[in-house]
């Protein structure tokens, strides 16, 4: 691997958050957890709003903790005042709920925050030791591309690594975390999301922790520290979030997801393997 480019920030341990979907309670819990684990920096891969209540409560947390943010499709829509979230649902039921939450989120995001979302970069590059990392929302080539574990070949991931000249790609957008180690010490990581549980019947959410692990041969000049990828479960007061969603008259279907951990909407985009794991 080539040496670090001096313009690229270099770290040894970072936390990477996927979509927040207005879940400021989970974001606060994740920030707290990451700090306790001694991360040097936190990154958020975008989709700050959607789904949850009080979208404006997310922004002070992101700023106060100095989270490095990139723009998701939702952020892009909100910033540009588009009339939908660019998830592209075709199922009328999915579309109905997507529209409801988009309208709510747009109306409750103050203009300064909307403008701020518009200033976010669509990708970030950094170094973790010798590893070159590329952070994006959907995929490096397209903000709203779904990269699911069961529908993304390793050949395609290898192609992305070559095309974007990187060793590690981090993305979100699908809502379900996964990690694949590729040949040549490369990695693809979908960091999951903080916004809603991942359709496994458990109410917690997840983020990704990336650490340069010293190998057993530490001390030897030849030892190249390996990249360690962990997914960290985050519990938060989901009943409080559910109560606030109800008070804001957000759909009961969304509230049910927060409380039960099962997805009830936007199911059409799930591939078979991922769909089979859920209840609906």
């Amino acid at each position: 691997m080539p040496p670090a480019d001096s313009a690229t920030p270099e770290y040894r341990r970072i936390a990477v958050f996927g979509g927040v979907y207005s879940n400021y309670l989970a974001l606060a819990a994740a920030l707290d957890d990451a700090r306790r684990r001694g991360v040097e920096a936190c990154f958020c891969l975008g989709d700050m709003g959607a789904f949850g209540p009080h979208p404006d409560r997310v922004f002070p947390l992101l700023r106060d903790f100095g989270v490095h943010c990139i723009q998701g499709n939702y952020d892009n829509s909100i910033a540009r005042g588009l009339d939908d979230c660019q998830c592209g649902y075709t199922d009328p039921r999915d579309n109905h709920f997507a529209r409801l939450s988009y309208r709510y989120t747009f109306a409750h995001t103050n203009p300064d925050n909307r403008a701020w979302l518009g200033t976010l970069p669509t990708a970030l590059r950094l170094q973790l030791g010798n590893y070159r990392l590329l952070l994006c929302h959907g995929s490096p080539r397209q903000m709203n591309e779904f990269l699911w574990e069961s529908t993304t070949s390793s050949a395609f991931l290898d192609y992305l690594m070559r095309q974007y000249d990187t060793d590690v790609i981090l993305a979100t957008h699908t809502g379900i975390k996964w990690h694949r180690a590729l040949e040549g010490g490369r990695h693809f990581v979908n960091a999951g999301v903080l916004g809603r549980p991942e359709n496994d019947g458990r109410p917690n959410v997840w983020y990704a922790l990336l650490t340069l692990a010293q190998s057993a041969s530490e001390g030897l000049v030849t030892a190249d520290p390996a990249l360690q990828v962990e997914f960290i479960p985050v519990s938060y007061d989901h009943e409080q979030l559910a109560a606030q969603m109800r008070a804001e008259q957000l759909p009961d279907e969304f509230v049910a997801t927060v409380r039960t951990g099962w997805w009830t909407t936007c199911l059409e985009v799930l591939p078979q393997k991922e769909r089979r794991c859920g209840r609906f």
């Binding site: 592209g88 075709t90 709203n144 699911w148 529908t151 993304t152 050949a155 192609y159 609906f280």
Partner: protein
């Protein structure tokens, strides 16, 4: 007349015309006029498939699709899918009428052993036996439902691609259809709706295309090319590699003998291109749909 030329942005989807134009049914609207006797394209041999899978790795292919004809008429279809699942996700477009339980059992085991999904897309025409059987043949609605039950029994969640009949815009018909699927054990049906393509047998049945239904260069201004299959796919047949699974009957749609020879841009000179233009990537699964921001 000038036609817009569409580059292959990246070979995301590799299609296999695995059973050629051979099908156990002879639907009146089949856009490449498949039937038990149409051998204009034949079965792909196993080695051709293996070679193309190997070649596709360096090209960074993301997903594999199998179509025909009816793919499950291919005597080695189970083996072909088992092999494919070692390379990436696979989707089969089937009419659902010829499954054998022991094939499905093997395929379920192969999917469980793989990282990747094996998707079944079962085509139906309309919500009722009357509408469907008028196009697909007598008794086919029932046979398709049986195929769906077989897939469900093996834990597959098929995507039903439905082309509603013209008179079927009544929402009650749709609700009745969903209820019928429930009664057949499919309580969370995955549905995808398709428009009709007016070529092949369809042109004889309904109306063909009008001469003005062509894609012009002006129409491409501000248009998202990713909506077109030819922007991210190629199809392997027993007669070479073609630009897309829709244009098999057009001589200029054959781009080369092998994948690497078939990566050149393609001019949208054909009338079906107009339907693609209007409706977008008809052939992609929802989980892979691309749309530019």
């Amino acid at each position: 007349m000038q036609f817009p030329s569409i580059p292959l942005a990246h070979l995301d989807d590799l299609w296999f015309q695995v059973s050629g134009t051979v099908c156990n049914l002879a639907c009146t609207h089949c856009f490449i006029s498949c039937s038990p006797h149409n051998h204009s394209f034949g079965f792909l041999d196993f080695e051709t498939i293996r070679t193309n899978l190997e070649e596709s790795v360096a090209l960074g292919v993301k997903e594999y699709y199998f179509t025909g004809g009816e793919p499950f008429l291919h005597p080695r279809m189970t083996e072909i899918l088992e092999l494919t699942l070692r390379y990436g996700p696979a989707t089969v477009l089937t009419n659902g009428t010829v499954f054998k339980d022991h094939w499905l059992q093997r395929l379920r085991a192969a999917e469980d052993a793989s990282t990747y999904s094996l998707e079944f897309r079962v085509s139906m025409d309309g919500y009722t036996p009357e509408a469907n059987d008028a196009l697909r043949g007598h008794g086919t609605f029932e046979r398709i439902l049986r195929g769906v039950r077989q897939l469900l029994d093996h834990g597959f969640l098929p995507i039903l691609t439905v082309t509603p009949a013209n008179h079927e815009d009544d929402p009650h018909l749709f609700e009745r259809f969903v209820r019928l699927l429930r009664e057949n054990g499919y309580d969370r049906p995955r549905l995808k709706f398709l428009p009709t393509l007016r070529i092949g047998a369809e042109a004889k049945r309904g109306r063909g295309y009008d001469e003005h239904e062509r894609v012009t260069p002006e129409m491409m201004i501000g248009y998202d090319q990713a909506r077109l299959v030819c922007n991210h796919s190629r199809v392997v047949t027993d007669r070479g590699v073609y630009v897309c699974p829709i244009l098999l009957e057009a001589p200029d749609a054959r781009l080369g003998d092998s994948l690497t020879e078939a990566l050149a841009p393609f001019a949208l000179a054909h009338q079906p291109c107009h339907t693609c233009y209007q409706y977008g990537a008809l052939c992609a699964n929802a989980s892979s749909r691309q749309r530019d921001t």
